[in-house]
């Protein structure tokens, strides 16, 4: 049961915290938007593949949202979010065609390379992309209403919170469905998958598109709350952070990504508050410990707990 309710728990907790301590809204939204990207990454981890380039998709979506709202300043925030999602979907579908053949390190490398190309392109061509300074986007209207900062943040927080629950439910279904199961099979035995008459490449492509789509949403949401997109969004270290979050949370259950994201952001806040300037060090150490102590992540613990309670 534990797992079933965690998404709700997270959503409600986020809302309550955000309303009690308004300054927490921004970090919460950022954390949860990271969660969506990490969820995308963890889908691929279930297929045994690690991408060190998925920040590229969040970055692309972020820039898409920014570009749109700069060209049509009246564009609604919801439309921008949708645009981000579509951007992730389409770019994922296209890139997926190329990378779905690759596995293991080659897959990781190719994704990293592609994201770095994007990173470099965005950093250059200053007159189009704003170069390393990135693009600003003024706060857009939301659902037709022009909102002040505070209500705008609250609204975004609400949207993210709801979508956390939705995403967890939907991806859970996906994991349980044949396609999701076939995805796991890619990790253990592609040959057999082919000998069942199934195209491992197609299965993996599907997973890739879904993961990119989630990243797309993450990027657009990040752009909205930040009001600024920079190439940093797509730097390989950011991709690494997504992988870290995915592992921290664990791929056993979609909610893991969000647990991981919250853990990551908290860690970051605490580390940068308590021991200024060395949050990376702290996170690195935590990650190392994790790899040996809980390689399957936090959600795995939840799931195990759930299994036990079920069997008892």
């Amino acid at each position: 049961m534990a797992v079933r309710f965690t998404p709700w728990l997270i959503a409600i907790a986020a809302l309550v915290l955000g309303i009690l301590f308004p300054w927490l809204k921004t970090p919460l939204i950022i954390a949860l938007s990271y969660g969506f990207a990490a969820l995308g990454v963890s889908i691929l981890i279930r297929a045994g593949q690690v991408s060190f380039g998925h920040a590229g998709f969040t970055c692309l979506a972020g820039y898409a949202a920014a570009a749109i709202s700069r060209t049509w300043p009246a564009t609604d925030a919801l439309v921008l979010l949708l645009a981000g999602v579509l951007c992730g979907l389409v770019s994922g579908a296209v890139v997926g065609l190329f990378v779905a053949r690759y596995r293991a390190i080659f897959f990781g490398m190719l994704n990293l390379a592609l994201s770095m190309v994007l990173f470099a392109v965005l950093g250059k061509f200053y007159h189009i992309t704003g170069g390393t300074d990135g693009l600003r986007l003024e706060r857009p209207p939301l659902a037709g209403m022009a909102l002040e900062r505070a209500p705008f943040e609250t609204a975004l927080l609400a949207i993210v919170a709801v979508l956390v629950v939705v995403a967890c439910w939907a991806i859970r279904r996906f994991y349980a469905a044949p396609m999701g199961q076939a995805l796991i099979a890619i990790k253990t035995n592609e040959v057999r998958l082919e000998y069942l008459g199934l195209s491992a490449r197609r299965v993996f492509w599907t997973g890739y598109v879904i993961s990119a789509t989630l990243c797309g949403f993450s990027g657009a949401m990040f752009a909205l709350i930040q009001g600024l997109v920079t190439p940093e969004m797509g730097y390989w270290v950011r991709s690494g952070e997504f992988v870290f979050i995915a592992i921290l949370g664990g791929a056993a259950h979609p909610v893991g990504a969000f647990i991981g994201a919250l853990g990551f952001e908290t860690l970051k806040l605490v580390a940068s508050a308590v021991m200024t300037g060395i949050w990376q060090l702290v996170i690195g150490v935590v990650l190392l410990i994790l790899i040996f102590v809980a390689p399957n992540g936090l959600s795995a613990i939840l799931v195990r707990f759930e299994r036990r309670t079920r069997t008892v």
Binding site: Y195, L198, S199
Partner: protein, 246 residues
């Protein structure tokens, strides 16, 4: 009558090693062919070529009157050729039942992204298959936890579920305890008979060959040295000396 599997001038060599010396070969429906031969004689390579895992240097393979020489395993499987492996190829992180269910779903080739796996495969069929191969008790264990014998069974079962016209089994009884070999073959052959599936199986155990094969082909260093009824082949002098080592 037109043969189910027709092979002409099949040639393949890895550098100096000849694994297929341009042989012809025909298999007819409802035959149960046992393939014998020493290790490295080219038996597995033969299967790999027929199922599209390796492409021959020359020659043609046609199945059911269709040229499959250039097709990949997936396409060949879809035409009705099932295959089981010398080293069982299983989904180690999934349960026995899930593996079967996935195979059942694979037959339709439509992978839903939303309806649960269990709901997408008819549980009646899955139960039946588990019944037939005697894995019902272990249905909810992870494949990685199965003993070799059961792995072999599951490996065959997953191929069988696809309802192939031809099932090729690469040493179904190797690595299986001696006293389990016969029951294992009995189960498999029973299942095959039930569906009237033509079959090829690579086998070293002479008794099993004599008991289950309607026809035997002996591979010697990349060519088919003898082909025919079990008696004939088993008494072929070359086969006796080279393959059976008498």
């Amino acid at each position: 009558m037109q043969s189910l599997l027709q092979i002409r001038g099949l040639t393949l060599s890895f550098g100096a090693v000849v694994v297929a010396a341009g042989y012809d070969f025909d298999l007819h429906a409802n035959e149960r062919l046992a393939v014998i031969g020493a290790n490295g004689a080219g038996k597995t390579t033969f299967i790999n070529m027929v199922t599209g895992y390796i492409k021959p240097n020359a020659g043609t393979i046609s199945f059911d009157g269709r040229d499959i020489t250039k097709l990949n395993p997936r396409e060949i499987v879809r035409l009705g050729v099932g295959r089981s492996f010398q080293l069982p190829q299983l989904f180690l992180e999934q349960t026995v039942r899930e593996s079967i269910e996935l195979s059942v779903v694979a037959r339709s080739r439509r992978l839903s992204m939303f309806t649960p796996l269990a709901a997408s495969a008819s549980s009646k069929e899955v139960d039946h298959v588990l019944e037939v191969v005697g894995l019902t008790a272990r249905a909810h264990e992870l494949c990685s936890s199965l003993p070799e014998g059961h792995r072999k069974l599951l490996d065959v079962a997953m191929a069988l579920v696809l309802q192939p016209k031809l099932l090729i089994m690469d040493e179904p009884t190797s690595g299986v305890a001696a006293d389990e070999k016969h029951p294992l073959m009995a189960t498999i052959m029973g299942a095959l008979a039930e569906r009237k599936v033509t079959s090829i199986f690579v086998e070293h155990d002479v008794d099993i060959v004599n008991k289950y094969a309607t026809r035997v082909a002996a591979w010697i260093s990349g060519r088919i040295a003898a082909d025919g009824s079990p008696e004939k082949v088993m008494n072929d002098p070359e086969v006796r000396s080279v393959v059976l080592g008498h």
